[in-house]
Symmetry: C2
Subunit: 253 residues, 2 copies
DNA sequence: GCGGCACCTTGATTCGGATCAATTCCCGCC
DNA sequence: GGCGGGAATTGATCCGAATCAAGGTGCCGC
């Protein structure tokens, strides 16, 4: 796509949260890595994979990667930056569905309806690998590893809803949210104890089905208890084990 | 329906909620129908489809179709009866993830972890088509329609979580729950205004993240408002439009 | 530097639903 | 037919988080 300079006027994109140097390393941490590798290694499909992947972006904070109702043609792997997905009901109330970090994939929930059922909005400067879905599924039919990878990604995302499930206290939810982010950063090779919250308190609250004030209070309490250090959106987890304990009912294992 | 002999010792399975006569018609209403038809029609794959499908059951109320941690080998289409899926945390608290009606498919969330992440429990006498997943994905690689169908089923289930999303009132949740059941029954050819709730109030409450007492109160209120007629678990929707209006924030469209 | 604005924090009050408690109902069982 | 137990209903009370309200802070454009 698109929009080298989407709504702004900065001449060159800054290097946001990801983009840890060389491309090869990034691809190693991407959700598609095994599919790409399986398809790419010394095979004629390599050429095809190349042509079904397209680098898009940058998108700047607040810009849409896709909008509710857009026809579904591709899925997107986050290469750098952070994205939220959200639905807006007809009364205009926003519902945040999820946050996506570098290496994660958005758009899978659009396969069935064939139109995007939600918006995807960049929270900071973000860019993507765009995978044409028709091309991708054609490739999947020929390369079992690609097919399996798609199945696994879809299935994995099914398991994600559990962070919201259950009637849990605000403390449990926030602790679980922080630990979930930590483990996802860790899985992509970032620090699991120090990171930047790209989303506002309001977005966190909305995602966790709490009020923004409640999130703020819980974070203050966690700080007083020396569980975290937080200044604005810069977060340092001082006692991950303690947080894990608080959020354990919502966390895997 | 149902459970003429729910927890008894009947020698032969009764005809529960589904099984509306002949098999062909049932398959027409099943979530797999298009995949089966695509695979089956005059093709050599027919034989293979036959061998990857296996009819299992009956399971009686309370019996497990699979348990958390079981190795994942197959997915199951409900042929008759009703199923709930649930997770039980280490403190022993149950979390109901969903209810599955005839024609719907369970087990998709086990592909990625390769073990079932939840239990599936029959709520009344239930039976299934069991699809070996390795065989299914091998078939999918050869028959594009089957692959596409799997993608679509997985993606569709991703959209389902929205019933629980958002901070909605008990009235909204219960109304949306009833309308969701109604539309799913309608999609499979059953009545959309009269049906049996196979699950207890406690299960409904757990699924909707409410207390059982709250569900009971809301249903009583809906009855007083002439929105529904309910006696035990027999439900008659008197004013679907009214219910849809109450639950609209959670419902599609 | 200054004003405007969005975001965040903290306190006071309110409210929806959870919890506790008491019957009642329904069914299988003796 | 009577008994026992789980499920459902209904009422009384309590509590956690929402809401309302009032600053504080940082950032951007002018």
């Amino acid at each position: 796509m698109s929009s080298k300079y989407p709504a702004g006027r900065l001449p060159e994109p800054p290097s946001p949260i990801a983009d840890d140097g060389d491309e090869t390393h990034f691809c190693g941490t991407c959700a598609f890595s095994s599919a790409c590798i399986a398809a790419g290694y010394d095979k004629p499909e390599l050429a095809e994979l190349q042509c079904l992947v397209e680098h898009v972006g940058p998108f700047r904070a607040g810009e849409h990667i896709f909008r509710t109702g857009d026809p579904f043609r591709a899925i997107f792997a986050v290469r750098g930056g952070t994205v939220k997905t959200r639905m807006v009901d007809k009364e205009g109330r926003e519902q945040v569905l999820g946050f996506y970090l570098p290496g994660e994939v958005i758009g899978l929930n659009a396969i069935y309806p064939e139109h995007f059922p939600c918006d995807a909005v960049a929270l900071d400067t973000a860019f993507f690998c765009r995978f044409s879905f028709p091309a991708m599924s054609a490739l999947a039919a020929r390369v079992p590893a690609v097919q399996q990878h798609l199945f696994r990604m879809l299935s994995k995302e099914l398991g994600t809803a559990s962070l919201l499930a259950g009637d849990h206290s605000a403390d449990e939810r926030v602790a679980a949210f922080l630990m979930d982010l930590a483990s996802r950063y860790a899985a992509r090779g970032f620090s699991a104890t120090r990171f930047h919250l790209s989303m506002s308190r309001g977005d966190i609250a909305n995602y966790l089905r709490l009020a923004a004030e409640t999130v703020s209070r819980v974070l203050s309490r966690f700080r007083n208890q020396k569980l975290i250090q937080i200044e604005g959106r810069e977060l340092h987890l001082l006692d991950p084990a303690g947080l894990r304990k608080i959020g354990q009912a919502l966390l895997p294992d």
